[in-house]
Symmetry: C2
Subunit: 418 residues, 2 copies
């Protein structure tokens, strides 16, 4: 069937014709659909059983409206394909931590998936000082499993390359290459920053040591196909409540450096930490929540590293390296050292990519709500200035970061809690 | 048209039906074909004009004979596709330095290309102490142009990813992954080494520092998609005479680390250098030719680095980084430093990959004719022992190699010429 945009009537007809959805929806009983998307690139319907409101699915469909803008429609369709493929893979590897996909229809550029209305995107609740008691456990599991099982540590060479071929994602990668690593660090019309931190922004743009480091991080992003990464794993891509966690919107997924994902999670927690200097005026309340956030940073890295290493020990089937390679006197120690170095390099990358992304949020096209929601520009500048200092140090000192305490130490040196 | 194996009659009928070949062959006049391949995976015909013997082409066709062996026929067809694609790309980027491709027929798994009968595969003439006055110039041009123009330094992000998608080469990569980096360094039934150097071989296999380094080099080979590399660029893949040079057999081509290609060329010259301790008994004659070989190593790296850097300065259109990124006071120096570090890392990789390949030639399934042609096992052991020492040091000391003189210095320290 060729493409047609669905509406809240035709989406129901469409779903009734999909027997694979029978477990989610009563296909022969009354159904109600409401469009809840922002109608920009995609439309999003929540479709619900008339008699049993808990029976519900989400339908997300790419829209061709932006065809006038030239390349947007192919880009939008491609985006939907990568998002669906990645969601399916994430479900397989980290069940319960990504929205379940019930159906993907390439011709209609749509995906039918789990309704997550009961969860909240994490960014705002973090500003409101909510706590997520399972978040560190869940996100570290998501990271460890999605990264390990798509790497050469678990896959054979041919398995990895065939998966990599499905995730060659040229245009979405280009967006990250340009807007994370390039344009924020040079003169570019779309860049946006608080005039009150103009001196700090301009200093970054002419800091040669930093520019070299960012160029080297970009080289890694463009060449280092370590694993299937989400590639946009900020706290706006995570939905959660006190019990559950789901990672959403993986349309940027491709084979890239693992540290880009880990760094994104940690960096967003640090930006939230800095935002509380304005959002939480009471120093005692602030200090307590900031300590919670740094505890998350510590727990996420520590649990991630432990889970990743445990998977490697439990399932060493990948071509890098087969167990026989380490089967000699002293080989067990060498294998342990190989794993240690692998995770040490991953922490360096986490610092470097986290730092680069922290900087781009302060001076590029993509800002971050935690901080832009600070109404007073002078108060905002305090947080922004600290983010620029911390981001710069994470990038410049990435090779010296030997533990998560070093990463946290830079935050508390520049911006003590409370 | 579906696949059929051609013979020396039907190959002529086939060529007569290809008007695109009119410039190479008189398609309506008498033609003669002779099969010259080893009939294993491929058949190779030289087809010549009856009246004008200089008018000639080579037809290389994959054979399905090995279908009994399971996966071989798909592998052979795939091999032919990667070889053809890479030859076409090499011709475009380094014209005159790869055999010209006149026609590629995917259905018949065949390629019609330039006849190189007037040239010799370099390995044997190097044992016979021939000299190739243009080799350093030609191969450094080939390396600089094929690597630079397929990297992020020249291509945009999307251009690079689309090309990379054409060169996802799972099974040929697997062969290199296994037989360069893994099996030679552990117990594996196909490994083959001179019993007289068994102690040195076993010592490599239980040297943890070396094993860690080899595992790290393999990780780079499996993940670091820097450029379209030939990936099997030894002196058996190069045909030359006093005037001309052609790089052949690029069926292993994929997006990998540049240093793997540069290292392969240099490492094979060093193995040839070591072979002359047996092949050239006269110390004065030997010393002179060995100096020539080390001169080639020096010239190839030096010219390669200069040409690569000159291309980068002349055509900085790649997304890593756009010129505007360096447009600030001091930016020109930072850009120069970025290029310097890029080439320094490339030299480290050249040492590491060259060393790994030198070692595998001594202790894996793939030996090297320069050395296996030494009839006396004791004499052969002398060269092999030196190759193991030099290869190990290239790998272990790769991070300390700051110039090609350091690379050569390891050779002359372990095995002084003469």
């Amino acid at each position: 069937m060729s493409y047609r945009a669905l509406d809240s009537t035709t989406v129901i007809d469409y779903l009734r014709g999909q027997p694979v959805l029978a477990a989610q929806l009563p296909l022969d009983a009354p159904l109600h659909a409401s469009e809840v998307g922002d109608g920009n690139l995609n439309q999003v319907f929540i479709v619900r059983s008339g008699s049993e409101p808990a029976q519900t699915v989400v339908v997300k469909q790419a829209l061709p409206y932006l065809r006038v803008a030239g390349e947007s429609w192919p880009l939008t369709r491609e985006r939907m394909r990568f998002e669906s493929q990645a969601l399916i893979k994430h479900n397989e590897l980290a069940p319960g931590l990504a929205p379940q996909v019930y159906l993907y229809d390439d011709a209609l550029s749509l995906v039918v998936m789990e309704d997550l209305s009961h969860l909240q995107v994490m960014r705002k609740p973090l500003v409101a000082r909510h706590r997520f008691p399972h978040f560190a456990d869940h996100i570290s599991t998501f990271l460890a499993r999605t990264l390990f099982f798509t790497s050469d540590l678990y896959l054979t060479g041919p398995e990895k390359k065939l998966l990599q071929a499905q995730f060659i994602n040229p245009h979405l990668c280009e967006i990250q290459e340009k807007f994370v690593f390039t344009n924020p660090f040079m003169t570019s019309p779309e860049n946006n920053w608080n005039p009150l931190v103009d001196d700090a922004v301009q200093a970054v743009r002419r800091n040669s040591a930093l520019k070299l480091a960012i160029a080297e991080m970009k080289a890694g992003y463009m060449t280092n196909g370590q694993a299937l990464i989400h590639s946009d794993l900020h706290t706006g891509s995570i939905m959660a409540d006190a019990q559950e966690t789901r990672v959403i919107d993986p349309e940027f997924a491709f084979f890239g450096p693992m540290g880009f994902d880990v760094g994104a999670v940690l960096e967003n927690l640090v930006l939230n930490y800095l935002a509380h200097f304005a959002h939480t005026p009471d120093p005692a309340v602030r200090a307590e929540y900031q300590a919670y956030l740094l505890g998350l940073v510590r727990e996420i890295w520590t649990q991630f590293a432990a889970k990743f290493d445990a998977l490697w020990l439990a399932e060493p089937r990948g071509d890098l390296m087969p167990a026989d390679y380490w089967a000699y006197p002293g080989g067990a120690d060498a294998f342990a050292e190989f794993r240690r170095r692998y995770l040490a390099n991953l922490l360096h990358d986490t610092a470097g990519y986290g730092g680069a992304k922290m900087l781009r949020r302060m001076m590029g096209i993509v800002s971050v709500w935690d901080i832009t929601s600070i109404a007073d520009p002078a108060q905002r500048a305090v947080a922004e200035r600290l983010a620029i200092r911390i981001g710069s140090r994470w990038v410049l000192e990435r090779g010296l970061i030997n533990s998560v305490e070093d990463l946290i130490g830079i935050v508390t040196e520049e911006a003590p809690a409370g």
